[in-house]
């Protein structure tokens, strides 16, 4: 088709395509700051206690480059399939703002540490490459706290602790075509950073931040209509919602004959909308120039190959191994490997469970473990806002509980209750079972008494069963389970009922 834009003949409505590019800033997990030796542990300390002449921008100081921050950035770049140039340098990005102590940020302009990479996202089984323009290193700014006096006068407080934290910037190509693709990109990128151990990836705490560029254009056209930059999104969900809102807003503007203004908009989470932010008229006059205080970087090919060889297993490789090694479904393997702590937890459980059993039933055990981790465990972690590493339940707790179920001490249905108690108290499954008298009853004599009572009370179900209605058996078993408060062994109960009623 040669048409510049594709019009739906029936409705007369122009079909648009969405174009999204993301810019992620991630703090690095170094122990000291980017250009000085102040502690990087700024979050848990009182304001302005991790500050020195370098990070507060006093005249006459000399910044020096944190070696580990550079290594972390090279690792990330290689994991994102970027190429590392022979030379890189730092530049000053000049702009005045009270959170920028020196009046400039030491960043990288025309010779970044890496360029031209990609990351693969999986959209319901379809793989798509999203280009990475560059990964470079810069520094974070101070934190501003806004306050108002009782008289209604507002002012700001400056805390310099965060200033000079190493900040890695990852810029994508505008290769994403929906809010969902953007979300998948962020999930994947975060998990890669977590696997590398270079970032916590915590968006809510601000150590992993995302700005988005979004524009729409008539499908098939290459023209760029006004590009909008969206900021202030502090969760994956917020990014998704903000892009969804912006996509719709831009369509409506174009459909009603308007024009998209190139601008920066801020996401207002409570209202679920983006609002135009007053643009600083000189915002793009950064007057970059080479940082005279920092000698350039040279990356030998040997150094690059050493870093590449030392990269840990990345999510994709782990995913493949989970699918082929443990016969997990691609869906489950994907969920487990999205988070490195969850994937590690899973493997620890499988390792422990594997010791008490043959290689043969490892797939079965892996499936059970995966079901618990992705089901009840994840639900409890989410509802109590607990990270898996900080949970009361350690892998061996979980494996011990599975053993109780395997050995018939604990019934499947009661395991759920026991697990919840383990989760809140940190007790072992056997302790909970003993304390609350939840040992499964498998003794035929004991169960026969309950079965007799249920048979006596349920004439209709018995008649139905004898008339060939199989569902009645399930009902009767359920009644016995209920009467035993979940403790009866369902398999034994079934056998007793069938024997007593003379079925097959």
């Amino acid at each position: 088709m040669k048409h510049q834009c594709d019009t739906d003949i029936l409705s007369g409505v122009v079909k648009y395509e969405t174009v999204i590019g993301l810019e992620v800033h991630s703090q690095l997990l170094t122990v000291s700051k980017m250009y000085c030796s102040c502690s990087a542990d700024y979050a848990s300390t009182p304001p302005n206690t991790h500050v020195c002449p370098v990070c507060m921008g006093l005249p006459g100081v000399l910044p020096t480059i944190n070696r580990r921050a550079v290594e972390f950035t090279v690792m990330t770049a290689l994991a994102l399939n970027c190429s590392i140039p022979e030379h890189a340098k730092f530049d000053r990005k000049n702009y005045p703002y009270p959170d920028l102590m020196k009046g400039y940020q030491i960043s990288q302009y025309d010779k970044p540490m890496s360029v031209n990479g990609y990351l693969v996202i999986d959209i319901e089984g379809r793989k798509k490459k999203v280009g990475i323009t560059r990964v470079h290193l810069e520094e974070d700014v101070a934190k501003l706290l806004h306050r108002t006096t009782p008289e209604g006068e507002s002012y700001s407080l400056v805390d310099i602790n965060r200033a000079g934290m190493p900040l890695m910037e990852i810029v994508s190509e505008p290769d994403m075509n929906s809010p969902e693709e953007a979300r998948l990109y962020l999930v994947k990128l975060r998990s890669i950073l977590q696997y590398l151990g270079v970032s916590t990836g915590n968006m809510e705490e601000g150590s992993f931040r995302c700005d988005a560029n979004i524009s729409i254009r008539p499908e098939g056209s290459k023209e760029f209509l006004g590009k909008v930059e969206v900021k202030n999104m502090n969760s994956f969900r917020a990014v998704y919602r903000a892009l969804e809102f912006e996509e719709k807003r831009q369509r409506e503007v174009l459909d009603t004959g308007g024009r998209i203004t190139q601008e920066t908009r801020g996401w207002v989470d409570e209202k679920g909308i983006t609002v135009s932010q007053r643009s600083k008229e000189y915002a793009h006059d950064y007057r970059y120039f080479p940082e005279p205080d920092l000698p350039p970087l040279a990356f030998s090919r040997e150094m690059v190959e050493q870093v590449r060889a030392a990269l840990p297993e990345l999510p994709e490789a782990k995913y493949d191994r989970f699918v082929s090694g443990y016969s997990l479904t691609p869906y489950d393997a994907g969920l487990l490997t999205d988070s490195r702590p969850l994937a590690n937890y899973f493997e620890e459980c499988v390792g422990l469970a594997g010791k008490s059993g043959g290689e043969k039933d490892i797939a079965k055990k892996a499936k059970t473990i995966s079901n618990w981790l992705l089901g009840d465990f994840t639900r409890l972690l989410n509802s109590s806002n607990t990270r898996i590493e900080a949970s009361n339940i350690k892998p061996w707790h979980l494996v011990e509980m599975f053993d109780l179920v395997d050995r018939g001490t604990l019934s499947g249905p009661l395991a759920k209750t026991v697990f919840e108690e383990m989760f809140s108290s940190g007790k072992t499954a056997s302790a909970v079972v003993a304390e609350r008298g939840l040992v499964q009853i498998s003794d035929s004599g004991e169960l026969a008494i309950i079965v007799d009572k249920v048979i006596a009370d349920n004439d209709k179900a018995i008649a139905d069963y004898r008339a060939g209605k199989e569902a009645s058996l399930t009902f009767l078993i359920g009644q016995v389970m209920k009467a035993s408060r979940g403790k009866a062994n369902p398999a034994v109960v079934r056998k007793i009922i069938v024997d007593k009623l003379g079925g097959n």
């Binding site: 000085c36 302005n48 002449p53 580990r68 921050a69």
Partner: protein, 95 residues
Amino acid sequence: MQLTDEEVRHIALLARLGISDAEVEKFRNQLSSILENMDILQQVDTSGLEPTSQSVALENIYREDETGPSLPVTEVLSNAPAQEDNSLKVNAVLE
């Protein structure tokens, strides 16, 4: 190269300097003569030379990722015109 008044005012704004009309003219002349000196430097034949952004022949100067002492808060805030809760107090900052 001669700067215009507009360019001088723009540079002053970027540097957050308030300057009078008389100063605009004064700095316009001074800055223009600096640029004229740059024009002279531009005449040097640099073909065949690698561009450089540095005047010292150093590269890969790193600091190990180790922590060192920071300043006491009292010193950090000693030049602050106003302070509150261990922080520098400044005029309201709007996004």
